[in-house]
């Protein structure tokens, strides 16, 4: 009864858009697809919707071969990152369009539309033209249209990307509310995004996608605590996790002339060279620490992002207060060694502060 994909590959040119992707999506769950731009997220969703046919692999839903069913009979709903609505129809007509297409009775349509308008908070806008709405409202109409359909598979392709910061925050919270209240038990929700923060907030099952390949699957917490490879660590953190090449020798870690104590969770690691990973938020200003030169200081909201340099190594530090720095100024920072990750030469995780990941 699930949505099952087996070894789906799509390669329209010399580059893989999807490379041997397999999954098993259960009803009533939220799945997020995390990946950078051009990682194949949209292709993934379009394949499920039926807009693209994979070169090889199987896709089945409720024990039917999904690939043989054309798009218009699949009963899926999709929200694009651009706000796609029918410009020649008003808000109400936009939302009833798919319902009329499926020949649902008038009374039912009225009820469904009212309900979905209430969910997205657009009651009273029924007769507005699409062009008269703001970007956020247009995206709400698109969302209402896909909710009113009561489709069994709901696909959201980076729905917040084209919105401004405040609206994004606001809609993100509302999405969470809608997803927890407004969805029926037998809906599969698939949400794609480039933003790790969104993934953590939505807290569903995560699939990390890169160059069409699934890098890691698991709950959001698992991805955050134990990114299986260096690439996952980069993709699933914003700013990306700092990676420093270094070596471990008995109780010390050294990189770029910096010597720090080896944390307790590195006890079982053999003495050799590693890629050490540390989140930007685990680097603190400290007068006892190592001296770095500031390359760039960004202030965002209530935080300051410091791009630091020492020798060849560059790190990004996230300071949780607004501070003014001059470029080329020297600051002293300290790494929180208890939150260090270690990746081996094959860029696989060998030790994490949340326990070693085994397979």
């Amino acid at each position: 009864m699930n949505l099952i994909g087996e070894n789906i590959t799509y390669k329209p040119d010399d580059q893989f858009h999807l490379n041997d992707v397999s999954f098993n999506f259960k009803k009533g769950n939220l799945y997020t697809i995390l990946g950078r731009t051009l990682s194949g997220k949209t292709t993934f969703l379009k394949t499920i919707a039926g807009l693209l046919n994979p070169d090889s692999g199987n896709l089945s839903f409720e024990d039917n071969d999904f690939i043989k069913i054309p798009v218009w009979e699949r009963n899926v709903a999709m929200v694009y990152q651009q706000f796609i609505n029918y410009p020649h129809l008003n808000v109400y007509e936009n939302i009833i369009f798919p319902l009329k297409q499926r020949k649902i009775s008038e009374d039912q349509i009225k009820k469904d539309v009212e309900e979905s308008l209430k969910t997205v908070g657009l009651v009273g806008f029924e007769n507005r033209k699409i062009q008269e709405l703001s970007g956020g409202q247009q995206q709400r109409v698109a969302l209402a249209r896909s909710l009113a359909k009561k489709a069994k598979i709901l696909l959201l392709d980076e729905p917040l990307v084209n919105l401004d910061y405040k609206l994004r925050e606001q809609l993100r919270e509302e999405f969470k509310r809608i997803f927890t209240q407004g969805l029926s038990e037998d809906t599969i929700l698939i949400y794609s995004t480039t933003d790790p923060q969104e993934v953590m907030e939505l807290n569903g099952e995560v699939i990390v996608l890169d160059e069409g390949k699934v890098l890691q699957k698991g709950p959001a917490k698992e991805i955050f605590e134990n990114p299986r490879t260096l690439k996952v660590a980069e993709i699933s953190n914003d700013p990306p996790m700092n990676i420093l090449k270094g070596t471990k020798s008995s109780e010390k870690l050294s990189f770029e002339n910096i010597l720090i104590n080896s944390p307790s969770h590195f006890k079982n690691l053999s003495d050799q060279s590693y890629n050490f990973g540390i989140r930007a938020s685990e680097i603190k200003l400290d007068n006892q620490g190592e001296e770095f030169e500031i390359e760039l200081a960004e202030i965002s909201g209530s935080e300051t992002l410091l791009h630091l340099k020492k020798g060849d190594s560059k790190v990004i530090a996230l300071i949780e207060e607004v501070m003014n720095f001059k470029i080329h100024e020297k600051v002293k920072i300290k790494f929180n060694e208890n939150k260090l990750y270690a990746f081996n030469k094959n860029e696989e995780l060998v030790s994490s502060p949340y326990g070693v990941y085994n397979g």
């Binding site: 798009v71 218009w72 699949r74 796609i84 609505n85 410009p87 020649h88 798919p98 709405l133």
Partner: protein, 216 residues
Amino acid sequence: MGWILLSHILTAFFVTCTASLISIVLGTLAAYALSRFTFKAGFVRNNDITFFFISQRIMPPIVLSIPFFIFLSTIGLLDSLIGLVVVYIVLLMPIAVWIMVDFFNRVPKELDETALIDGCNPYQAFYKVVLPNSIPGLIVAGMFCIIFGWIDFFFAFILTFTEVQLLPVKVVALNSSITPWWSLSASALISVAPLIIVAFVVERYLSKGNLSGALK
């Protein structure tokens, strides 16, 4: 005199409108196919097919006149309404295809895809979603077809003799040894008037053409 001129106006009107209508209908369908689907035949691709349509208008009309004359006389449609309509379709359809391909390329593909996802089959997606949003394009294409059809003197002059005579030909024919300037001026004004009316009516729709609500 007046009644004869009226029959010429009606003939010209009939030929122009019929040819324009058929060109728009066929041209829009062809343009949609060229814009949305990929065709491959040997080295021929979508762009080559589009260029083929436009290339029909690259040659000077005089080059086409003799083949057309021979063609129409062979199938017995010389000096007939239908023959003239056929020739005009050949001349007008490239314009319709050209304008509509460009227009459809600017309609976001996601709009069709959304229609498909919302339960339309490809034909319904075309006439329920894409076509209603292409009215400005259709009006532009239609206007160009009507203008080019209406002002054509060359083919109307060569391919018709007595049975069918279009307005521009008649207007020129008035210019004989003793030119009746009053009739000539009046009929010239009548032959221009429809275009001016068309331009005024259509101008409103041209500026309104936007798809801003589809994609921001």
